[in-house]
Symmetry: C2
Subunit: 339 residues, 2 copies
Amino acid sequence: MAVTIKDVAKQANVSPSTVSRVIADNSRISPKTKQKVREVMETLGYYPNFQARNLVIQKSRTLGVIMENSAQLAFQNPFFPEVLRGISAFAHESKFGLYLSTGSTEEEIFEEVVSMTLGRQVDGIILLYSKINDRIMEYLQSNEIPFSVVGRPYKDAETINYVDNDNIGIAAEVTNYLIGLGHRRIAFVGGDPDHIVSLDRLEGYRRALAKAGIAVDSRYIAEKNLISGQEGPAIQNMMKSSVSPTAIVTHDDLVAYEVIGYLRDLGLRVPEDVSIIGFNNHTLSEHLKPPLSSVDISICELGSRAAELVLAQIEGGQEEAGRFTVPARLIERGSCQRP
Amino acid sequence: MAVTIKDVAKQANVSPSTVSRVIADNSRISPKTKQKVREVMETLGYYPNFQARNLVIQKSRTLGVIMENSAQLAFQNPFFPEVLRGISAFAHESKFGLYLSTGSTEEEIFEEVVSMTLGRQVDGIILLYSKINDRIMEYLQSNEIPFSVVGRPYKDAETINYVDNDNIGIAAEVTNYLIGLGHRRIAFVGGDPDHIVSLDRLEGYRRALAKAGIAVDSRYIAEKNLISGQEGPAIQNMMKSSVSPTAIVTHDDLVAYEVIGYLRDLGLRVPEDVSIIGFNNHTLSEHLKPPLSSVDISICELGSRAAELVLAQIEGGQEEAGRFTVPARLIERGSCQRP
DNA sequence: CTGAAAGCGCTTACAG
DNA sequence: CTGAAAGCGCTTACAG
């Protein structure tokens, strides 16, 4: 039904091969032939069928973008659109399309990745997260599929393309900043401990305390799975202790928003009673009252660099793994003060 | 290099046709043949090449998702991930993939849509926005490509698949709510007037005022393009008038956040001095201080319904256009009070 | 500079 | 119940 290369060939009195070559702008075709063929393509309204082309060239010129759990937090979190923006920009530049995972369980997502890659729908994969013992990453590795990850891989980091912030460093810096303000009892509300980013930020927090000679007190550390569904009570318990923390480092602004809510329920004010600091600098953090101090992690660049890395592997046949460390910096606003 | 249907056929001592049929689980193939072929597929690690299949069945089983301007607000706005969540869920259910637009100008996006559709990369399109005189929508219509839109189309609404809230109705309700609190000088800070959603919400605002016998004062109406880049001064000007508004309806929570910032700069408090209300009920609005009253527009359902509509057209060969009106309701929080 | 032929990996009438 | 053949719409050595 649609007009094909054959229709054009017939109409232009050339062979399909020739039409194919003018599409590719092959230099061996004479200008006048090109001209003629192009006119015919125009009048017939020809448009190349990419499915057919892709089949023969054994490429898809598309990237699979895998997010962890589409039904969950990933979608609430402004991180996702922002990182996608970076990926989009770079992919578009290179004329690559984006194919998105849609599954909502690990099993579903795994199946999708297999289907995308073995089914030749994508030339490479960008993993939007990094966690411990990730079946998907192992699959990609053992099948030698080009991929890059946003976040430090748990293992084999030398052989994997990835982009990351210096999460340990910046978390230490943030903690130090609070220590510098005079805080000694500093809590940490972390994320999912399966995620490397959570681990790294916690590690930075620990190091800063250690360096300052402050003992790490496990009662001041809340990880997501430890408190799952019970964040409110857990946090409130922590705050009701007689030696409650005077400052809290949270691993994400969204978490900070919630914590602030719990504090409010307890009649505690930010920053007068408790200082608080977030990560990821969501657009809205500056609109809070007081505006939330947070760490800008250059989300968009995280995305574009991740795209750059897979594309280098796909197109350049890059052998060695690439890595980018993207800037992170603390943005001081009004949510911290001296204790 | 990859194992194909032929390899399996050879190994299993059957023809490629037979292998193809066991993949399709065709009932005319004997159980023992199926069994044997499946074993071979297993041991060889066969996986079907979708590009090849798609080429012959003339389908792609993927949906193109078009967002307006990937470099802009679309990405800052939590609306996008949430609507995508709805689309994902429905598409995944129907075993459809998602192909995302990546362009950042209207021209680029138009080219992508043409490439996706004429290039047979997608079976249908979901438009994530609706605006006046949209070239892309016209293209989809005249080429009879299955599509649905999130938002009411500017014209030909009877023949187009779309989902929407009753924006006129809910905007009127919101305005009425403020009138009911005793406000008479109510401002409206709108969005891009090219967008139908902005038009509809403004219309609802007008109707409510008219019905209450309050004259519509154009000085109380700010549209995005009128104030572009100058929102701050424009809003502040409005507020410094001797008859400044005592309440403001904003077309999106993000706009409300900004307006609140400007008010704060003027030393005006919410809700003591000015009441304010937003739309779209972003996750963070409840964390503001005071928490922002907003309209929940069921974003996720907007997405899943849009997917449902295109899929009905693609799969069911649906002839008549479908439509869903998704619930919208005002969520009262702390940002409004009597004047 | 151009064409005939083979092939990418599948599906599907048609025939038996 | 199964196979041989044609074909989906392209690209690309090979030959001239």
